[in-house]
Structures are given as C-alpha cells and as structure tokens.
Symmetry: C2
Subunit: 316 residues, 2 copies
C-alpha cells in the first residue's frame, strides 16, 4: 500500500481551505506551569461541526464526480463523522445517509437531522451496522465514505497537524488521540513531511487500548467491548491507518479515565473552551507521563468538542 | 474632560501586544442562520485570566514608574479585574492588594491567591469596600487601579475592539456588554476612530439597567440592588466612562436573564467555548431584537469566561 505523499496533503489543504475553519492555536500559562512543558493546542473543537472530522469528510466529498454526488453519500457512525458528513453533504446539495445504532443519543440524532441528513437506524452491533450500510448503498447507489479507513479521509485529517506545524515551528512532540487512527496517521504524515524532527505520539484510553497493543505486536488487535469515557475512541485501527502509524508514530501512551476527566476539566477551567473527553486524552497522557515532556515544546490536537451539556462527567 | 485619542489607543495596543493574547475571532454558521445576521465573535473569554480586563490592567501597570511599582497596586473587585490585576502584578514582580467582600466565592478568592495577590476582606457593601481600600492605600502606598473609571484602563479595553475591527472590516454594528462601562466606552472609541461607519450598541441585563436609564436621561443613574445572572455587570457607569458612552454609543439594549441563559447555552453548545453569563448578554440582546440586525455584519465582544463549573445556570 502506498502512503499519502507530501503533495497529497498540500493539495488537501488547498482543496478544503475555503470550506473549513483555520482553527486557532491556543496556549495556557497555567497549564504549562503545571506540567513543566510548553504546550500548543490546535483547537479542532472549534472546527465546523465541532471536530476535525469535517476536514476528512470535506476533502473526500470534493473529489467525487458530479455523477457520484448525484447519488449521495453514506456512512455508519454515531459520532462526529456522522455530523461532519451530514454538513459537508448539505453544503454540496447532495443527500447523506447515516446508519446509526438505535441506542445513539437523541442529541446526536438531532444534530445529524439538523444538517439535513437521513438517519437509518440499526441494531447496536458492528454486524448490523455493516449489513445495513451495504443495503443502503445497494438501494441508493450512494458513495460510502468510511470514518477513518480511507486515504482521502486521512489526507484531510492530516491538514490540522499541517496547520499547527506551519504556525508553531520546532515542536519536539506532537500528541493526538487515537481511535480508528485517521487523525493520528494523518498527523504522523504531516510531521514526517513538514517537521521531521517532531516525534508523534498516539494517546489512548486504557479501556480501549487496541492501538497500544497493535502497535507493540505489529498486527491489528481489535478491541473487544472497549469501555472508556472517551467515547470517540472506541473504534479499532484500520488496514489503511495502522501501517502509517506503525511506520511514523514513535509510541502510544495509554491513560486512565480518571486522568482524562481531570485533564478535560482543566482545559474547560483554564482555557475556557469545551472539549469532549476524547479530546482531553493527549493532555491526560502527558500529565500522567510528565517526566517525558519536561521543558519540551509539545503540540496537542484537541480533536473535538461535542458533548451533552446535560451529562457532564464532572460534578456540575 | 478629554477623551482618549486614536493615537492613545494605538499606543496601548503596541504597549500590551507582547503581554496579552491576540484573541481569535470566531464565527458560527448555525447561529448566523438562527439570527439571520453575520456575527463575528471577538473571544476575550480566551484572553489571559479569561477576560478582557487583563488588557486594561496591563496597560495601566506598564505606565507606572519604578517607584510606584515598588509600592504595589491595589483595587477593590470580586470579579475579573481582581484576577487581571493580580496576574499583571505578579508578572511585573510587584505586590497586588485586592479588597474583596467577605461573601465572595471561594473559587474567586482562590484564583486571586493563585496569582500571588494579597486579599483584604471587607463587609459586602460599597462603603466598606471604599473605606477598606483607602486604608490599604494609606498603609502601603500602593497605586489604586480602578476597575473601569480610569482613562488608561479604558484605553486598554479599547484594544479588543481595535483588533476585531482590524481583522473584520465593514462591520455594521459592534455590540458589547456594559457594567461600569470600561469595555463599552473603549469599544465605542475604537469604532469611532477606526471604523466610523460601525454603530456601537451597549447591551445590559434588565435587572441592572443603569446604563440604559442613564443613557436616556443624560445623567448617571446608579443601580440600587441590581439583580441579574450576569454578575459581571452589576456595577454602575462611572464619571469617565459615561461621557464617552453618551457621545459615541448609538443605543443601549436591555435583555432578560432567561434570554441571557439561552444565549449562553447556545454559545457553549454551538461554538464550543465557555462564556460567563455577562459575555452572553450581547447575543441575547441581539436575539431579542433580531429585526434590527437582519442581514447585517455584527461584531460581538465576548467579554469573559470565568464561571464556576459546579454551578452552571442551565440544567447540567
């Protein structure tokens, strides 16, 4: 398999530039002091639909032919990719069919419906998702856009790290959360091409540590019944993301849910931005392994900010 | 009384540039669609200490003589100005004496102590505040920096609107909340000098509508027992802020607490940033008077993001 090249990521950046937010990089003196490092937060929680996923969805959609666009797009997701694809499709006047498990929260369904997509419910199993998606694609001829295991999606996600690197030179480390690996593999490629001295570290909840186990055993070991508050990271690595991660990521750090909630609260309290639990995983992993980062310049991709304000994980 | 001139605001911008965050301007497609206008949010909630107040405190402190700095600075405030002055003083290695009412929340006291300031408690009355402050100033010879009724403070606060205007040309309106009037008077001057076609509107909670009443009767009418969830706006206009507002603000809109909470929730949910109730007042006023802003380009200063995560005003 051939990896995306530097020019592919540059092309993706240019392709989506006018459609995505160029998100700000924020810093916090008080968090820096607390952890003893200099942190630069790339705020993809402030991206459209509240997550980096809008980059990959947009980059893929823009490369469909007029004939493909006429048939619409489809995916299975109960999370940020669903919203991202729904909005991207809406703005391109094409239909979006989103297969969602019947137990997805009302707020997530509402968000997707709000962007004009059609929801097709299925049983909450991976099998049911895939079968239902196949049916929908067969019926509608819609183009399936995978949440992460797709080269164009990876190239789109890579553009967030690319922007961070362009703005903040000489990062010693770049940390990203890892679920299916779209963001991490894209970030690793951007660092490799545009800031080769920056080490890229994947960060993962202990309760969904398939990337950690896969990375250290050189085969994809999928999670079985993963359990973590970071519900954007329940998915396992894919055949396209794993080889990139194996080659260009220097290590995977895991961290417990308690520390994830602490990091999440710290970001809310000190930085005045809303991040979902998954987005707090890199800071949590850094806090748990502070000795590794003493005095270093560390980039962190804050992946998303979609939370249910009625169900906050800290006392509130 | 002579107002700050364009060159004074430019000088303040340059003076504080390396010490304050150049905060981002964020937009939201979904909120724009909801209100039928194009909104540009200047995110002073992402400023150091989580509020625009850091601009005025820094601008004033930087103009003290070495002899003055040696004696320290003092103020009375239980809010964002206290934190702003505490941090600015800490970074300049000078003492800060903050007079706070004995009923100020623990979280506010902790924040001020965290920046290394000394807290002097007093009875929760305006009289006690002023008497205690006078005593402290007499004892320590510290320089009193008023939360808003000070030309250098006003010039500092003006720099936020200046940055917004520089970045987003041709605003039809600029909305800011008004308490003591430091932010509103500064914003009005920046618009007058740097974007004269932009109309500046002050926005205020109905339960603390002294600016509305003062503006419409041409004398300062102070609030008596103001009551609103927007607790940063309880103070009344000052002798230095009022004349600027009279001359350069086109109108004051008031809005109820229910709408303030709705606007606050909308900003959290859609923009993924944390704003305090006071910062949501301009959007709330705009939502309540949407017909005035149909199709217009509107700048909004989000004044601050300091809230107690354990006491959120919406069900959470």
């Amino acid at each position: 398999m051939s990896f995306p090249k530097a020019e592919d990521i540059l092309a993706a950046s240019q392709r989506i530039a006018s459609l995505v937010h160029h998100t700000p990089v924020l810093t916090s003196i008080s968090i820096d002091k607390m952890v003893g490092a200099k942190l630069f937060f790339k705020c993809e929680n402030l991206q459209k639909v509240g997550a980096f996923k809008y980059r990959g969805a947009t980059n893929t959609l823009l490369q469909l032919s007029p004939a493909q666009l006429k048939q619409g797009v489809a995916t299975h997701s109960s999370g940020n990719h669903a919203q991202a694809l729904a909005l991207a499709a809406q703005l391109h006047d094409t239909a979006a069919y989103i297969v969602m498990p019947s137990n997805a929260s009302e707020s997530k369904k509402e968000a997707v419906l709000g962007y004009g997509a059609k929801i097709i419910e299925c049983e909450p199993t991976l099998d049911a998702r895939e079968t239902t998606l196949k049916q929908i694609v067969a019926e509608t001829k819609a183009h399936f856009i995978h949440p992460y295991n797709d080269i164009k999606v990876i190239e789109g996600q890579a553009t967030a790290a690319k922007e961070l690197i362009d703005e903040i030179p000489q990062l010693d480390y770049l940390l990203a959360p890892v679920g299916g690996g779209g963001l991490l593999s894209g970030s690793a490629l951007s660092a490799y091409y545009f800031s080769p001295s920056t080490k890229v570290i994947g960060t993962e909840p202990t309760g969904a540590d398939d990337a950690y186990r896969s990375f250290n055993s050189d085969i994809i070991i999928s999670s079985i019944n993963p359990k973590t508050i970071a519900d954007g990271l329940l998915t396992s690595l894919g055949t396209k993301t794993f080889p990139i991660i194996q080659k260009h990521v220097s290590q995977i750090l895991t961290v417990d849910d308690d520390m994830i909630v602490e990091a999440m609260r710290l970001i809310w309290q000190r930085m005045k931005i809303i991040v979902e639990a998954s987005a707090a995983v890199p800071l949590a992993a850094l806090m748990q392994n502070a000795h590794l980062f003493k005095g270093k310049r560390v980039g962190i991709v804050l992946s998303g900010g979609n939370i249910d304000l009625n169900r906050l994980p800290f006392k509130a």
